[in-house]
Amino acid sequence: MTHLIRELQKREEKLFHCVHCGFCLPACPTYTRLGDEADSPRGRLHFMRAIVEGRLEPDSPAVTRHLDRCLGCRACESVCPSGVEYGQLLEGAREVVARAGGASFLTRLLPAVMGRPVLLRPAMLLARIVRGTGILDRAVRRLSGEGWSGQVRLGLGMMAATSPPRLLSRSMSPNELLGPEEKMDAEMPGETMGHGTRAAVFKGCVQEGLLGRVNHATARVLNANGFKVVDVPGQGCCGAVHAHTGGLKGARELARRNIRAFERAGAGVVAVNAAGCGATMKEYPHLLGDDPEYGTRARDLAARVRDISEILGTADVRVGGRLPMRVTYDAPCHLLHAQRISAQPLAMLESVPGLELVPLRGHEECCGGAGVYGITHPELGGRIGKDKVRAIVSTGAQAVATGNPGCMMQIGAGLRMAGVAVDVVHPVELLDESYRRGGLYR
Amino acid sequence: MTAPLRSFLAEVVSAGTLLPEPERARWAVNGAIPSAVLMPSSEEEVGRILARASQEGWGVLPAGFGRWLAGGGGANVELVISTRRLRDVQEYEPADLTFTAGAGISLSSLAEATGANGQWLPLDPPGGEEGSLGAAVATGMGGPLGQWYGPPRDHVLGLTMVSGDGEVLRWGGRVVKNVAGFDVTRLCIGSWGALGVITSVSGRLFPLPEVDVTLILEGHQRFSLLPHARALALSSLPLAALELLDPLDWKEGGSRSPAGLVVRLLGSREEVEAMETRVPREAGDAGVFKRLEGEESRAFHGRLGRWEEGAGLVLRMVALPSLLGAVLRLVEDSQAQWKRFPAQEGLDVRVAAHVGAGVVRVAVWGISLEGDGLRGGWVEALSGLREVLEGMGGSLVLSSGPAPLVREVGTWGGRRVEKTLMQGLKRQFDPQGILAPGRFAG
């Protein structure tokens, strides 16, 4: 087994940054619910160290179980005084575990589909067709929450959650069935912050497949703010799911493909509206650190990657029409903890006239989405998700905004299962709607 | 005096340690005069005395100036050891804000020593500043200043004691923070001599306040002042003392008001001025406060310290501060009941409450047990009062009173305490059980 832990050993120095202070425990959604230090960041780092020191085998059921239970939300990084790069260490550890044969079927299946357009596109089309029939919502209402059917229910709920929000106008929304290849540029007036900079929109896999409307909104809003949005053929999945589940090799291939695609497009800014993808792309230099050919190119791309809120959450953003809505904001972990972006999404929402932004208790805590966590860990994921739903309901908001497809689906599914009529939207959609109402689009 | 005791005194005790015969009567313990009163001049001498007393099984009562000889138990006391000759300031480094002094130093002498450097020990236990430091620690009772500065346990950093079998033991130290070993210092505070003879005490000092102001609100009776007292107790003002007095004596043997609310303000000039303007407002527009400053204020509180001097009966009642009204009502009813006893209509009953701490003290002058059924009446009245207080979760201590009454009613009452633990601890320090026999666990 020793050859397998070399990956972790390379990171030994990073492991040593952990001084075991325990400040991360209360930030960890699994520790706060389970109370077991094996389910805390410090505990997981301790497992890794024990593997490196040869005291534990990487295929130990305890290691597999507790590393697998990590949401990967990286809330621990935000409170770590030693700056331990937990997310990166976790990826390494999961690869070791996966290669030692510890990963579950589902954690192997998902990356396999997402990384392959040949499989992904038909899957997404099928999902949209099913969603269009309205059968999903009915199933969510009817299915029991217990056991296996509960997992199916959550899965269907997540798909249903990608339906367009009721409170926003649908006139400009693209045909939900056609989705991906819809044109996304529109003629926009005005000379604003973009000054004609070439901007590319990273489309992602799930985002483009099920939430194409968010990509369109992103393009329109960028356009309205003076960016020249360019199309980037050949881009694909960012590789996050692969990296998070221990498939670093697959993640590297996807990263290389994206690097090539965005280099060809020559965009000054790569706008990302999926926090998980943004976090992964900003970490391409780390992922490809040992790659002689792609190392520098990864840094070039990462330097141009911006979350959409980083671009628009400034004083220069154009102001649209009134959107009298009560909205609350939930911070995606990969935006708040991985990218350390906290104020900009709020600034972006606050720039919308008439929008009432109400604070969300526990907004900094994971929603339990974490990819397909709710399906792989139904009980724990369900508890975390329910806590989030309860907090959202207590705000009395009409919509909850969050900038990551996984979170939108998880929260949306949770709200549907609880029978709560609160819309889930991406913040940029609200800005887009405000622009539409303000007549910025012609 | 027994033969062994006589020979012991000749062998072990140095000249000047034995109190001359005529003065011995003043040191009666609950009515019984001890065989000898010893005033050793060093902790080693205390050790020699106790070692021998342990061998012989002589009961010993530790004391300072002999004001608290009636602390429950006290049966079979052969010897009283007074620490009055252990009165040196052993260590005093103004820059450390700490001191170490012999237990027999009076609080006023200590104040004189530290006052020269602009520092003080903010401790005003019952009995006034002519009491000894050791007694303040051994009895553990706070006074009015406890409102802000806390009871003695908050001021003591360490102490030296001589255990029942004559070992000199040092606990704590003269540093402000010290968690080495178990907190025996805390255990000894308020142990009323049952664990050892405290011979020296290290404590924490404070800078003397720049300004000392006392604000007094007069009232017709205690209940009219109660709401104002509670309002002040619940304000965020750092009041040095908050006392409710009934009646209020302005001067020694001088003019008297039915009741008074006393607020003491200590601090910088700005701080006290700001508080002065706020006190009447926070008290709920109670009327005009009279104002004493500097020496006048100090003198007033000095008198307050000796408030119970000469009283035939002193009770100390504790309950939650929010129950102050109920406790005062109890006292009122009791007062009326006592005055209906034959030949007791001339009783002078005074009440003083530490409003923030929920402590109500009652002092009675003119009490008599000589008369038909009087003794039985008093016993029943006090036992009943204690029962009601204990039912409220509080307690009643008979601090001093006629010896037969103290014997029958008991000093401490029946609070449920961990007798096994108490007895076990007592044995560690006093294996032969000679110290303060009958007190607490003894």
């Binding site: 400040f23 | 968690v179 401490w412």
Partner: protein, 473 residues
């Protein structure tokens, strides 16, 4: 009792009893899983327990402890594992009783300024719960975002603001305790000064050796209405020490006086909690005053003057609450940030009389030089509570030995200066070997006797606090 045989599994009947007490979900004994419980925040001592049990209530905890007692199995209480003296380590095997599920705030009685909480409540969470009433729980250990009230009780924790407000012991008014035989009792309570030994006072700081405090009643204080915070930059740490003495001698009583030295500043500034301390400074002093608004400004000015007279290079005033928090955050996260300096860290803790600070500091740097070690100082200067932290790499056994020797010398220096071997982190496993520096054999005997009164069978957190000849030399 030498402990439980580490190679023997727990008796099956005991496991069944424990499961009956807490349910199957809350007891773990898979040996691989136990690895994460082998240390607390003091990583030099490690030993995995036989099992971990997480009761949710006093009643469950009582059943658990009763079962352990019945089988003669050791009980090791553990809060959040943030302790710095190895107090929560199952040094001789046995069962860790964790408090992570006892997180209920049972009562906030604002009228009497008290609260009753379960022991697993975080210090910060208690403060958040009482803040709406304008109250706070004063002891603020630097780990307050993560440490539990039960842990604070066990260690008698301090914190930066205990210069003015005092330590945990001052604020704990009553304890509900599961004694080592499983019996439940209340210690302290109203009028505890009356007619009984202060058992709650004795229990606070007993480091889990007397039982498990499951419910804690604490006194609360009104939140200070205002505060002024200064950050003062010095060229040398000695200047900073002199400034502290000057401030105290002037009769000022700050709420906190904290010093961090050059090495610490660098570690903090390299972490995500960078607070803008200049990295070329010799030391930084944080001075805070709080209370009613009036007078604070003048106190702050007087303190600033003391600092400038002592040779301060720069005095910064925190202008907003935000700046104040950032400034404190850097200080409070200093310990974690030291992970940046080297793989391992020995967080030291000792107290000396304040006036001896400059001399002791000089001795400490001399010792560190002699042993060729890097030392980073963080300390509560107002209390004379030092944290000379030694950074090292445990993979280098020779360096490890030098750290041990240097630590022993530092302890001696502090005790000789009139101080003690621990100010707030506790004795735990780590400091047992220094106990004879501050206690005579007779005193140690009494401490052993006191422990026996609570725990006659020696089952409760053995191998802690008291030297028993088994500690490392």
């Amino acid at each position: 009792m030498d402990g439980n045989d580490l190679t023997e599994p727990l008796p099956l009947q005991l496991l069944r009893d424990l499961q009956a007490a807490v349910g199957t979900d809350w007891i773990f004994s898979d040996p691989d899983r136990m690895v994460v419980y082998e240390t607390d925040a003091q990583t030099a001592h490690s030993q995995a327990p036989h099992a971990v049990v997480l009761p949710a209530t006093t009643e469950e905890a009582s059943e658990v402890v009763h079962a352990l007692h019945g089988h003669g199995i050791l009980m090791i209480p553990r809060g959040a594992g943030t302790g710095l003296s190895g107090g929560a380590v199952a040094l001789r095997g046995g069962v860790v009783v964790g408090t992570s599920r006892m997180t209920g705030i049972l009562e906030v009685d604002h009228e009497n300024r008290r609260a009753l909480v379960q022991c697993g409540v975080l210090n910060n969470d208690l403060n958040a719960a009482v803040a709406p009433y304008g109250l706070h729980y004063a002891p603020d250990p630097s780990s307050q975002s993560a440490c539990t009230i039960g842990g604070n009780v066990a260690e008698n924790s301090g914190g930066p603001h205990c210069l003015k407000y005092g330590v945990t012991s001052r604020y704990v008014t009553a304890l509900r305790v599961v004694l080592p035989d499983g019996r439940v009792t209340w210690l302290g309570g109203q009028g505890r000064e009356q007619g009984a030994f202060d058992l709650a006072g004795l229990f606070v700081g007993s480091e889990g050796c007397f039982g498990l405090a499951t419910e804690v009643e604490v006194a609360l204080l009104p939140l200070p209405e205002a505060a002024r915070t200064l950050l003062v930059i010095f060229e040398t740490i000695e200047d900073a020490g002199r400034a502290v003495t000057a401030i105290i001698s002037r009769g000022l009583l700050p709420a906190a006086l904290e010093i961090v030295d050059r090495n610490t500043i660098r570690a903090v500034e390299a972490s995500i909690f960078a607070a803008g301390y200049p990295t070329d400074a010799g030391a930084a002093l944080v001075v805070e005053f709080d209370g009613v608004e009036a007078g604070l400004e003048r106190h702050a000015e007087e303190a600033a003057r003391c600092c400038l007279d002592a040779g301060a290079r720069e005095v910064r005033h925190a202008e907003s609450d935000q700046e104040r928090m950032a400034l404190w955050k850097g200080r409070k996260k200093a310990f974690g940030a030291m992970g940046r300096l080297a793989p391992d860290l020995l967080v030291q803790d000792a107290t000396v009389p304040r006036s001896r600070l400059p001399g002791v500091l000089a001795r400490i740097s001399e010792i560190a030089r002699r042993y060729d070690l890097q030392v980073a100082n963080v300390f509560h200067a107002g209390d004379g509570n030092l944290h000379p932290n030694l950074v090292y790499d445990r993979r280098d056994p020779e360096e490890g030995r030098r750290v041990e020797q240097a630590s022993a010398e530092i302890m001696k220096v502090c005790v000789e200066a009139g101080g003690t071997i621990t100010g707030e982190h506790g004795v735990g496993v780590d400091k047992r070997k220094y106990m004879h520096l501050v206690f005579s054999p007779a005193e140690l005997e009494i401490l052993r006797g006191v422990k026996q009164v609570f725990d006659p069978m020696g089952l409760c957190n053995p191998g802690k606090v008291l030297p028993d000849g088994q500690e490392a030399p």
